[in-house]
């Protein structure tokens, strides 16, 4: 009894609350009460229908404003949560709202919002969508509503299309008509995006357009081509591109638009406005992919002549390529037509027309139109197999025949190039049973032309012929075995005899393509011939060096298949071996290493290739280097080339590339062999082993530099391993490397040891052990650096830089201490300049260690992070430093800023601009140069602060155009040139931009920004025009031309 009473009184309290909420919202105009009401409904204090009852008075008021307010409360509540409504409630509410649509216009907006909320309801009863829309289309004139209410209507349609498609389709064409009427005249870009989305749904999801196809097309196509410049600081972020895409999706959405769209596009192609042309071509392309050939029938002639005109008389590459793409789409649309005995061959007829218009231009290879004609034909040929066949059958014989009849080189070259592009464009056959490709009928002729051109003496003919041959080889199954053999012979001959760099580059590239597809011919024919040449007796002659160089690079180019690698690498190793006896120069030994590295980087990662590198090549390289070192120590002196730094630096990438990408298990074995070789002097893994046992390699004090520098090879073996590959005896290795890097006197040796140490630290597992190692090293480094008389300070400094880098890359917390130490060294009397350069090392990718290729732990954005954490320190340090140390800070700063991505530079520059400008006056040319190179991109997209300091910028730059260093002169001239192009940043807020064309305003304010400096700049640029260096003059001419 008591409980019933409580419930009763609670209900009474709720309804009193409800009434007061309604009162305060409707009469008191307190919008927040809508939230409270919504909460009441959600918490179950009262239902929506009770709310309607409570609203009774306001809804029947004679004041339209009061009625509107009442409806608004209801709609607001529904917007908050309409999900929980029952079907019955929804039904009542819809009936109510539909009725209210007939009310005064001020009531309409909240009604629409309520209806929108109801369209989101899962409980929408069947039939209600239809009735809702019928009332909507009948009672509301959408375009006289405000922007937000129109958006309401569009969103209702979108919601209903998503959930009640079948019902809407039952409305038939009335739905389309209703929509067309609703959007007719829409002007707001946000609403247009919604309207285009609805229109796209209508055409794509197969709504019945009935007799309103043309109306729907008209109401959307009137916006084509979209011309829209968003207002400055547009909060809605709608771009022209979005609108273009949305409209294109509508227009190109259904083939039913064909009869209207084609004439429209043909008309727009005549336009002088480039963007309209481009849009028309892209829309055409999209539309054609949906069309049947029957849709295009009556417009083929018109389309072809427009497309042809765009390519023949094109004014921009963009438009040309869009036109060619559209032609390809058109041809493939026609190719989809099914050929039957009684229907006409649409594709055939079309291609006939194309051939008629273009083919005769191919007969005049001197004249301009040969190229556009060729491009048009290639675009058709690339569309389908059938088209390729037709075009090839007609064009290729004519071209090959002409090639043999013309005698002028330039004509022949043009013909060859056209041929090459045709071969490239040919679609290979899709059907498997039809295995003879398009080109097989012409194979003999094409090969004949290619081989004939390769035998010419003209370089450009040879280059083009090599490209043609490569394209022919790429057509699967085209070349016969005999052709390949002949091709290999031609390539070999050219490699050995042709001196022209362009020719040999083209030949080497072509050989690379062919060797990948036909390895056997190369392994058996080319490589033995090259080997013979490399080791021939004529090798002492000067001209022969060039031949050998080409052979070495060709060996690398053809080695992508393991079977070829098996043949080519022994040749390269033999070259290196003869370097040991002085038979080959240092330069050639380095080239041989480069070739080996290229092979390691490109060969397929198979077990065969892995064994070749890990079991043959790397042990052989280690052995050669060691033999050379020992020979030198015995002062027999013949292995001279192989103890040079250049050679060793070329060997390291061979080893590290193989370890990083070929066969991880084998790489692990290589690494552990290297560890025992260097720690214990265990030489058992080396071939041709005549070394003394227990070789000392990592003892800084005791061994000669020739031996100690080999530590860089250890680095190649252990620092490039994929992460997760276990390395034995790491602790021992680390402490020996630390010892060596801190005590050795030979620069290459201690630097390599420091790098190797850093490479290992970078990959070591996080934890106490690693922290201990770092603390120990840091203490040691500090000790050395603190004693200013120590002879080993440079060593300690080198280790500091490398370890800092290793830790910085992986975001290790201890890196900060090390980099701070580096900052403090900027004040150091001896190491200050080196410390400034150290920042460059810290920020840039090093080629041989600590990079992603070596699987190092490199976090993205580490540069930005370092910069943002440390830029303040630099500025402080700069301000506090004595005058003579300031350049170090400026140099460090420009080293850091230079490596940042431009986006970051632009955002961070304001804080640093004054410092950078200071750096321009710094007498150090290195600082000037690096500052200029980081200013250049910043000027190209200038922050406002740069524009405020324009005076200082211009002044300092002009002072440098007569600098004694030509690089500084060139770089400053480039900056001056960039200044002339300052885009309009400050004026973007101005309202005029809305009306005028953007480009015009940009030009005007470009003048406005820099015009005051024009006379002064032109005067200052006169002397560099007469600079003694041509490269400087070239920059000056460009800069002055822009001003």
């Amino acid at each position: 009894m008591r409980r019933a009473a409580e419930r009763w009184s609670a209900m009474a309290a709720d309804s009193a609350l409800l009434l007061s909420l309604v009162e305060e919202f409707v009469s008191g105009l307190q919008d927040s009460k809508a939230q409270d009401a919504a909460k009441g409904v959600r918490d179950g204090h009262f239902t929506v229908l009770q709310l309607v009852e409570a609203l009774g008075l306001s809804l029947t008021s004679s004041e339209p404003q009061t009625r509107a307010r009442g409806v608004q409360l209801l709609s607001d509540v529904l917007q908050e949560d309409s999900a929980a409504l029952s079907q019955r409630e929804v039904e009542v509410l819809i009936a109510f709202y539909e009725n209210r649509l007939k009310d005064n216009y001020v009531v309409t907006p909240p009604v629409l919002r309520g209806l929108l909320a109801l369209t989101r309801c899962a409980a929408l009863p069947p039939g209600s969508a239809v009735s809702m829309l019928r009332s909507l289309f009948q009672d509301v004139h959408v375009q006289s509503l405000m922007i937000a209410e129109r958006a309401c209507v569009y969103n209702m349609l979108i919601n209903l299309m998503d959930t009640r498609e079948a019902e809407l389709k039952s409305l038939g064409a009335d739905f389309v008509f209703g929509f067309v009427q609703s959007m007719d005249g829409e002007r707001d870009p946000r609403n247009l995006l919604l309207a285009f989305q609805i229109a796209r749904n209508i055409v794509v999801r197969g709504y019945d357009l009935g007799k309103f196809t043309e109306e729907l097309f008209e109401v959307t196509s009137c916006y084509f081509p979209i011309d829209f410049t968003p207002p400055p600081n547009d909060p809605h972020g709608i771009t022209k591109e979005e609108l273009v895409q949305a409209l294109r999706a509508v227009l190109a959405g259904t083939p039913k638009f064909a009869e209207f769209l084609f004439p429209l596009l043909i008309e727009k192609l005549d336009s002088d406005v480039q963007s309209a042309k481009l849009d028309a071509l892209q829309t055409l392309n999209a539309f054609l992919s949906r069309c049947e050939h029957t849709d295009t029938a009556e417009f083929l002639q018109g389309l072809w002549s427009s497309l042809r005109r765009e390519v023949f008389q094109t004014s921009s590459e963009k438009i040309e390529s869009a036109a060619l793409a559209a032609l390809t789409a058109l041809t493939s649309c026609l190719s989809r037509s099914v050929l039957s005995s009684d229907s006409e061959d649409v594709l055939g007829h079309f291609l006939e027309v194309v051939l008629k218009d273009c083919e005769h231009h191919l007969r005049e290879p001197d004249l301009k139109l040969v190229w556009p004609s060729a491009k048009l034909l290639q675009a058709c040929s690339g569309a389908s197999y059938r088209a390729s066949r037709v075009i090839a059958a007609s064009v290729l014989p004519a071209l090959t025949e002409q090639y043999s009849s013309k005698t002028q080189c330039s004509q022949r070259r043009t013909l060859l190039e056209v041929l090459q592009r045709f071969v490239q464009s040919v679609k290979s056959s899709r059907s498997t049973e039809d295995d003879d490709g398009v080109l097989s009928a012409h194979r003999a002729d094409l090969c004949g032309v290619a081989f004939a051109a390769l035998s010419e003496s003209n370089a450009s003919l040879q280059v083009t012929a090599a490209a043609l041959l490569a394209s022919l080889a790429r057509q699967t199954g085209l070349l016969l075995e005999a052709d390949v053999r002949l091709a290999v012979d031609h390539l070999t001959r050219l490699l050995l005899t042709e001196d022209d760099d362009r020719v040999s580059a083209a030949v080497v590239e072509c050989a690379g393509v062919l060797a990948e597809l036909h390895p056997a011919a190369f392994a058996t024919r080319l490589i033995p011939r090259l080997k013979e040449e490399v080791f021939s007796d004529a090798s002492q002659q000067h001209s022969h060096h060039a031949v050998r160089r080409r052979c070495l690079s060709a060996l690398a180019a053809v080695s992508t298949q393991p079977s070829v690698v098996q043949e080519s690498t022994p040749v390269l190793l033999q070259v290196l071996k003869s370097a040991l006896t002085g038979g080959v120069s240092l330069e050639e030994a380095v080239l041989a290493c480069r070739s080996l590295q290229r092979i390691a980087a490109r060969v397929q990662d198979t077990e065969e290739a892995g064994t070749c590198f890990h079991d043959v090549i790397i042990p052989r390289l280690l052995s050669l280097a060691l033999q050379a070192a020992l020979q030198e120590e015995d002062s027999s002196g013949r292995g001279g080339a192989l103890v040079q730094e250049d050679f060793l630096s070329a060997v390291v990438p061979v080893i590290s590339t193989s370890c990083s990408r070929l066969q991880p298990t084998l790489a692990a074995r290589t690494a552990s062999r290297a560890v025992s070789l260097f720690l214990d002097g265990d030489v058992s893994c080396l071939p041709e082993n005549s070394f003394p046992p227990r070789l000392q390699l990592l003892q800084a004090e005791e061994v000669s530099w020739r031996r100690s520098q080999l530590v860089c090879l250890l680095m190649g073996c252990v620092c490039a391993l994929p992460r997760g590959v276990e390395l034995p005896r790491t602790d021992e290795l680390l402490s020996r490397l630390e010892e060596m890097s801190c005590t050795c006197r030979h620069p290459l040796s201690y630097t390599a040891a420091a790098k190797c140490f850093a490479g290992l630290v970078n990959k070591s597992a996080e934890g106490g052990a690693l922290d201990g190692v770092i603390q120990r090293v840091r203490a040691r480094i500090c000790r050395e650096l603190d004693s200013s008389s120590s002879p080993l300070r440079t060593q300690a400094f080198t280790l500091l830089v490398w370890v800092s880098k290793a830790l910085l890359l992986r975001y290790h917390p201890l890196s900060t201490g090390l980099t701070d130490q580096l900052f403090s060294l900027l004040d150091d009397a001896h190491l200050g300049a080196a410390a400034a350069d150290g920042f460059l090392l810290l920020m840039s990718d090093s080629p041989d260690v600590l990079n992603r290729g070596c699987h190092a732990d490199v976090r993205i954005m580490y540069r930005q992070r370092f910069f943002s954490e440390n830029s303040a320190k630099l500025v402080q340090g700069f301000n506090a430093a004595p005058q003579e140390k300031k350049p170090n800070y400026l140099k460090a700063l420009s080293n850091i800023v230079n490596t940042l991505p431009q986006q970051v530079q632009v955002t961070e520059l304001p804080a640093l601009l004054s410092l950078l400008l200071e750096a321009l006056t710094c007498p150090d040319q290195g600082v000037q140069l690096s500052t200029l190179s980081c200013l250049e991109p910043v000027i190209a997209s200038p922050p406002p602060v740069l524009l405020q300091q324009l005076e200082a910028v211009v002044g300092r730059l002009l002072a440098l155009v007569c600098s004694p260093a030509m690089n500084v002169r060139m770089s400053s001239l480039r900056c001056v040139r960039a200044l002339s192009l300052l885009p309009a940043h400050q004026v973007q807020d101005s309202p005029e931009q809305l009306s005028g064309s953007l480009k015009l305003i940009r030009n005007e304010c470009r003048c406005f920004q820099v015009l005051p400096f024009r006379a002064r700049v032109l005067r200052a640029l006169a002397p560099p025009l007469d600079d003694r260096k041509r490269l400087v003059r070239q920059e000056a001419v460009q800069a002055r031309g822009e001003w």
Binding site: S410, L1025, Q1038, R1040, G1041
Partner: protein, 169 residues
């Protein structure tokens, strides 16, 4: 002045004979050496002009060919003497009645005036026997005052400047 901003229908020669490009100048080691003086040579002048001509306006007439490919300015016809500070450029219009001849000549002249040190005396003229009104055009181009006056005409200057805007930008 000749009509600016042409329609395609006004193309003077839709399918002209084209010539091979002579390729980029190869950079030599001497050019990178601080201590070597590089004199201004024919090729350099030619490059200045070559870079001139990839522009919007003339492109309507000649695209996708540059003046060089059209043989309007041939390398052999550029003669420079750095020591005497003289430059002489001969250009050949594509057809004898080319109405663009004056504009092309003027553009070449202005480009050289802007790009060469002021010590140079610049002579631009039509290759003898290649244009119907050769003498008149040459006279115009040689007359300092007329060139200056032509450049005072802001609409003409606009056209010339358009000709001289390099295409890369």
């Amino acid at each position: 002045p000749p009509a600016g901003g042409g329609k395609y229908s006004q193309l003077e020669n839709a399918n002209p004979v084209i010539f091979q490009r002579s390729g980029e100048r190869q950079q030599t080691a001497a050019e990178e050496d601080e201590d070597v003086h590089d004199p201004i040579d024919d090729r350099e002048i030619f490059d200045i002009l070559y870079k001139t001509t990839q522009n919007d306006l003339l492109m309507l007439y000649f695209h996708p060919l540059s003046l060089e490919e059209l043989n309007v300015v041939e390398q052999v016809r550029v003669q420079v003497n750095d020591a005497d500070s003289t430059v002489s450029v001969e250009f050949t219009p594509t057809i004898p009645h080319c109405s663009m001849a004056t504009l092309i000549g003027l553009s070449i002249k202005v480009k050289l005036l802007r790009s060469l040190p002021s010590r140079f005396k610049i002579d631009v003229h039509i290759t003898p026997g290649t244009h119907a009104s050769e003498a008149a055009v040459n006279k115009q181009l040689a007359d300092k005052e007329r060139v200056a006056a032509a450049l005072e005409n802001s609409s003409l200057l606009e056209v010339v400047n358009q000709c001289l805007t390099s295409r890369s930008l």
